[in-house]
């Protein structure tokens, strides 16, 4: 039989039910039609469209990234990264330089700005930005996305209503260009709304290329809604069939009718039930260790959340909500239980995104509900462990309770892995490394389990386990080739493994 693609002479970790390892795979019409050990591939070798001698390299199922702010990631690639700025002069110089490269009128968008890292410890005002870029609208987003700074031209274009809360004013009662709260939200909405389709497309394709280079063949894109813009979700929806890899859209809204009218099967993503440890807004049972006046924020009342979840659940949607602290997780579980009690559904597979600090009881309740925990192991790599941010915020005892991956897996919870890009890099190998090298030893998981987070469990998290997530006959030929076998390398070296090639439905999309 003639096949389209033959990979042979390698180590294929199939991630099937028995963790079978084979040496070769044959794909035809986008699907895996045969695989095996030894010389069985010879029957295809002469007639195959493309034969790849793996020369001992390792093949895994194409990676899933189960939580990506894809458009935001793309737009940020196109933006000025201000996260490393250390003084005002440096900021002005970067903006001035950017303005000199752009035609008049084109927007300069800066991201990641954190005045606390500056010597001056203050935000710029619009006059200062005017001097750097008089002919281009400038919009700087603070690192938390909750504060914006614009120059006069941008302020003029925005036409903000005067009675909007959050317009910071100078001594003459004129807007000084700094916008917080509602004003910042509206600015963000206006500015993202003004972003052209061409620019969104450019950003998305850059982000997708990044994903492909990291071996990702399926992405759960969480788009629209609070801190983002529905235009971005609409873009993904309209173009979903034109992307080189599979995009599953999670439209972030609580408007169930809108989702139904678009014929979507899922709702939510980052529907914030609470905030984050970093901003001390993740809802905890006890106050933060470095600020005893704060124990986080619940953004929904239980009644409101119950009503939204029930409405979406009753309309047969898969739901995903963001919950990090134990109080938010409690709230999410209560709402899912409430919906299931009133309207029992078989396998709704609702999700909790992040699920960072559950109690043992929460884990059991999540399992009873058949929930998916959509986790980001790289959080632990960046912020977990002694002396890092989690310890500062939560204290030593509580930081040792975050992201207990091993507990989840042992208890039988479905755990899918993601990056939450642009917050952490879209890099599943780094995610696998982070889960295996968890700073709290007892929560570290095996390499096999860590791979499952980004393959078969990712597929389960969006009901795709019958077609993707493992290398099995009949499934889509989505694969990633690695230069080293992660099962055979020391766990501390997993993040040094390189993606050699990414294959989507039998087509080689990327070769290093």
């Amino acid at each position: 039989m003639k096949v389209d693609l033959l990979l042979y002479n390698g180590t294929v970790l199939t991630i099937d039910d028995n963790n079978t390892v084979v040496n070769w795979i044959a794909a035809k019409d986008g699907r895996i039609i045969d695989l095996g050990c030894g010389g069985g591939y010879n029957q295809y070798l002469k007639t195959t469209g493309e034969a790849v001698d793996l020369m001992g390299k390792t093949v895994l199922p194409g990676f899933y990234d189960s939580h990506v702010n894809l458009v935001q990631t793309g737009l940020n690639i196109l933006s000025l990264n201000l996260s490393e700025i250390r003084c005002m002069d440096e900021l002005f110089s970067i903006i001035r330089h950017k303005a000199s490269q752009l035609p008049e009128g084109e927007m300069i968008r800066g991201i990641g700005f954190d005045e606390l890292k500056l010597i001056e410890k203050k935000l710029p005002n619009r006059y200062e930005l005017d001097r750097c870029a008089p002919n281009n609208p400038v919009w700087i987003s603070r690192v938390d996305y909750h504060t914006s700074i614009v120059n006069s031209l941008a302020l003029h274009m925005l036409n903000l209503p005067f009675n909007l809360e959050g317009i910071v004013r100078d001594g003459r009662s004129l807007p000084n260009g700094q916008l917080t709260g509602r004003a910042s939200a509206l600015v963000r909405s206006h500015m993202l709304g003004r972003t052209s389709e061409a620019e969104i497309s450019k950003g998305v394709h850059k982000a997708l290329n990044l994903a492909i280079e990291n071996g990702i063949t399926s992405v759960n894109a969480v788009e629209g809604g609070f801190t983002f813009h529905d235009k971005l979700a609409e873009f993904m929806l309209e173009n979903k069939n034109s992307f080189p890899i599979d995009i599953t859209l999670f439209y972030q809204t609580v408007n169930v009718e809108r989702i139904l009218s678009k014929g979507l099967k899922r709702i939510g993503g980052t529907i914030f039930l609470d905030g984050s440890f970093g901003s001390r807004t993740a809802a905890l049972a006890e106050p933060y260790s470095d600020d005893s006046s704060k124990s986080g924020t619940l953004y929904f009342s239980q009644e409101e959340l119950n009503s939204f979840i029930l409405d979406a659940h009753r309309n047969d949607l898969q739901i995903a909500v963001h919950a990090i602290g134990s109080k938010a997780i409690e709230q999410a579980l209560t709402a899912y239980e409430h919906a299931q009690a009133i309207y029992p559904r078989k396998d709704p597979r609702h999700r909790i995104e992040h699920f960072e600090m559950p109690t043992d009881e929460h884990i059991q309740r999540a399992i009873a509900l058949g929930l998916v925990a959509s986790v980001q192991p790289t959080y632990e790599y960046l912020w977990g462990g002694a002396g890092k941010m989690y310890e500062t915020r939560l204290g030593e005892a509580r930081r040792k309770r975050t992201n207990p991956f091993n507990k989840y897996i042992k208890a039988g919870l479905i755990v899918a892995g993601g990056s939450d890009s642009d917050l952490t890099p879209m890099n599943p190998l780094l995610g696998i490394y982070s889960a295996v090298n968890h700073p709290t030893d007892e929560y570290a998981i095996s390499v096999e389990d860590a791979i499952k987070l980004f393959t078969i469990n990712g597929a389960k998290a969006v009901f795709e386990e019958e077609t993707k997530g493992s290398i099995v006959k009949g499934k889509l030929a989505d694969m990633v080739i690695l230069d080293t076998n992660p099962l055979e390398i020391h766990p501390s070296k997993i993040n040094e493994i390189s993606v050699v090639a990414t294959i989507k439905e039998g087509n080689i999309l990327f070769v290093r």
Binding site: P134, H156, R182
Partner: protein, 444 residues
Amino acid sequence: MLSNLEICMLGNPSITLNNKPIMGSMSNKAAALLCYLVLNKDKMYSRDKLASIFWDSTSIETARYNLRYTLWSLRKILDTDKKQIPVIVTYKDCCRINPDAVIYTDIFELEKLLEENLESKDSDIIENLDKAKSIYKGEFLEGFYINKCPEFNDWVFFERERLQRKHFEVLYRLTKLYKSAGNYFKSIEILNDMLRINPLQEELYEELIKNYLELGDRGSALNQYKRCSNILRDELNISPNESIRKLHHDIKNSNKYLQESVCQPSSPMSPSKLRVVFIDEKKTAKNPAGQIQPEMENKISIICHPLLKISYSTLSDCVRAIIDNFSHDLLRKLPQYYWKDISRIESSAYEIYSADIITDSLTPASEKIRIFAALEGLFNLISMNMHFCIAIKSLQWIDKVSLEFLIYYISRNKDSCISFLLEGRENEPLYSDLLKHIDAEGLS
């Protein structure tokens, strides 16, 4: 001789002289200078001051030269006839708008109307405010920005805000006046205009809800709450403020608003007893605008689907719509044993009925008898104090048990205040018995 100079600064600016647009023939700075002088027509400006406002970043000598040139070009455009009174009068060191020049600006007209309003009779106020509303075509000098003129641009921000504040005041007063005059539709229209400017202003949604309640339109009032919650959640991730939440809670959990609206004696379509109307769906499809539907505000609509001919499915949808639309306090008046039987066909009944999930096992016949009795009780409860309409579309796809219940209910409750509006294919054998029965009983 007087020139006929008109300057509109609200929305995209326009300048016309003797009805001819002239803005295209002047530079942006010249237009900006003219607008600035006209809005400050009572002031005399030193040339140096104007030069620094409009040519801030250049040397004072160059700025003076630029001002001189711009004033000259303006005079050339504006004073085409030497017999005319000049629009701008210039002196060695200063200049100003000629106090004798007659210049129309939309802003002066708006301000004059608002001043007159203070002295007007109540009956004239609405007319004046409406005029003021129509003059405000957009933000002050919309889309007009002069680079490197920070003082001028700050002046624009200041004026823009001042005028927007006045505009909001006009709109706010209009909604109040229309509301107190009973013109709720107009009040709603203006509130929606205000929301287009600031979609995050919660108190506007609250006013909208109150207007709809005055109209007796509980459904739209609830929808406005949903609209407010959705936008606040999507944009700010917050819940509506306590005052709106309380209002919403009151609407949902009290029958007051429903009863007030339905019991209005003026409602011409309010039937005094059970009524059944059948409409051929072909007629409504051809003429959707002229649908022969009773304009009842308290209506639930159910659509039967071809793939859902499962027993009780239409009744189940009906129960869910009742639970969604009626006060739960009212629904709790139905005995719990009835809710228990209703929960056999619709799980949202557990929102009202909090006892254990049913575990008993009945024969289909006795189950049907109990469910029919419970639904009869429910329908009679909701129609006890008000007329109510249940609209069922695509009746040809109704399941047999639901159809059976309709016949059951109609035969036994001729004094019920429910209207059934049935829409389906004509001559459908499935419900010919029902239609015959309606005719025979004189219920149509």
